[in-house]
Symmetry: none
Subunit: 358 residues, 2 copies
């Protein structure tokens, strides 16, 4: 994949053309520098913004002394290429790597940043790297750690793909290893051993009969899930195995804390050795807070729950109510076939403009 | 594990001390070269033997023009280390990796090779590599393929652990991969996928409820077994897996051919994708043949069936009647706690000396 030699990003072109230009700048996680350079240079041309940068995360702000400040945020990296570059338009859709997740949203943010010289609320625009990879490479986490004051706000909108509908909160995620022991023996005399893989059938039984919770919070219904995502066991081809580990992933509604989620998984696998290996808390929708409620009214559609974990949870940690709202079908994220409907890009831009102008 | 720098093997030391010296030379399958070098060098010092080698298999022979020739054979490799090195003596036992399976038997073979300058039958001593791993790495199979004339004989004794009792025949072994499919999805929306690991619970159900056959042949009762020996599945920590493979090992009585064993495994896992990956036929006890019967009389105990697959079956393929006979409890083979009773090592050496001197 060769990156077109763009001298600069033209923020005056329409939002879909700008999305196409962004898609055509290769920015798989770890290679965002070229795109971050273009974003930074373009925002520095905008007279009403002050611009900062840390790593490949760019933060631009108005400073109008408004009584409220809001954050609009989006990540500029993508998952790996899958034969879906360069971008391609047709039948009202823009196809290509990152078109849905989430360069459509990034284009809207950049258009708003250039256009809104006098928004009714002060605005902080955050374009960051490393969202599609391990949490310790996340650019928003880097800003949070090194310059938390840049993220201070009354409300935040993450422009992840939501089908142009407000999605509140996000589910938490926890991974745990459930390990089953046994006793080794030569497989020719298997009755002298205890087969740990056979015993792991008991773990799979609990997963197969598990009844996932449906939880309603602030009128939004979350759908949990508990699944094996990995299994490994076996010592040698002629040995009754004495250990088998099933790695499970629990996706939990935001009424449960990370600690409660761990307790739940331990309870489900009571009697087995359970070790939590990884986790991130969810975020409550917070739609009862005034800033969020005002935004939902401005968008004018019924909000929905967010199942996947998103950086909304980071804002929640900072005490900033946050929602997801952006163009594109979230079920197309990370697929070869991803695209963004052109109409949703324009709609999101228009609703956001309306909200920040009224 | 560091291997003691043995300059040479002393075949004049008593058989248990020699067993300890052999245990202390690390020779997990694939790393037998150092031990093969020592064995070859020691046998080349013995004037009444001619010595050949192919790979890490060493073959030494007398050429006295006797009317009968017998093979004494043993493998020099071991299963992986399990915190059971170096060797340790106590309470009449020698503990350590390979002490039971089968460096005690190898020590007896090496002692006989050095001591018997004029046995009553010509003897071929075979010490070989790669018995504990896939059949295509088996050193005896390599000799059989490249120099079958080296194995020509009227009778063969494999000195695998049998508790110093003659064991007739051996069970066959077959490995198969049972693969279960599914459909990938993001684990945050797990209900859109089909979890292959959960579905593999059905394979484990059949294994858990499997009823193994007991089969009587030539008065010996064989005990079959069907076990999972490996399981693997999973795509990523946030993906519902679309494939899981359970590797099963079927140990079958010698009244079934390898093809019949494959049919049986396919029938057990009817409805699943079954692929046979490896197998070796069993060997009928053959105790009604004259050479085997004469040996059994010399040892002077009732013979028993052999559950584990051994290279007895290879000799059967060459038309050479063969039995297992060696020191050590076969139930301790491949366990961390394996040991060989010192008295059995001495007993086997004495009975074999008697047989080959009378």
């Amino acid at each position: 994949m060769t990156t077109p030699r763009l001298g600069s990003l033209d923020l005056s072109q329409d939002a879909v053309s700008l999305t196409a230009a962004l898609v055509d700048v290769f920015s798989v996680s770890g290679t965002e520098a070229a795109l971050a350079d273009l974003v930074e240079a373009a925002l520095r041309q905008v007279p009403h913004l002050t611009v900062d940068r840390v790593g490949d995360a760019v933060v631009a702000r108005t400073a109008l002394g408004r009584s409220e400040r809001v954050v609009l945020a989006g990540h500029i990296d993508t998952v790996p290429e899958a034969g879906n570059l360069p971008s391609r338009r047709g039948e009202g859709r823009l196809h290509g790597l990152g078109s849905c997740d989430m360069k459509g949203g990034v284009a809207v943010i950049l258009r708003l940043a250039a256009a809104l010289s006098a928004p009714t609320r002060d605005v902080t625009y955050v374009l960051y790297d490393g969202e599609e990879v391990d949490a310790d490479r996340n650019g928003l986490k880097r800003v949070q750690r090194e310059h938390p004051e840049w993220l201070a706000a009354d409300f935040a909108v993450l422009m992840e793909p939501t089908g142009a509908t407000v999605e509140g909160g996000c589910q938490g995620t926890l991974r745990a290893d459930v390990t089953v022991g046994g006793r080794r023996a030569h497989s020719a005399r298997s009755w002298l051993g205890v087969n740990a893989i056979h015993a792991a059938g008991g773990v799979l039984d609990r997963l197969r009969s598990y009844d996932a919770r449906l939880v309603t919070i602030d009128g939004l219904e979350y759908h949990e899930g508990l699944n094996a995502v990995h299994v490994a066991g076996g010592a040698a081809g002629n040995v009754i195995p004495d250990e088998c580990t099933v790695t499970v992933n629990y996706r939990f509604a935001p009424d449960r804390s990370l600690a409660e989620a761990g307790d739940h998984v331990r309870a489900v696998f009571d009697g087995y050795d359970v070790r939590v290996v990884d986790g991130a808390p969810g975020a409550l929708p917070g739609l009862d807070r005034p800033a969020a409620a005002a935004f939902v009214r401005a968008i004018g559609k019924d909000p929905r729950p967010k199942f996947g974990w998103t950086d909304v949870a980071r804002f929640t940690e900072l005490g900033v109510p946050a929602v997801n709202y952006g163009p594109g079908d979230p079920q197309l994220a990370h697929t070869r076939e991803e695209y963004v409907p052109e109409a949703e890009v324009y709609e999101c831009e228009e609703r956001m403009l309306g909200w920040l102008s009224s």
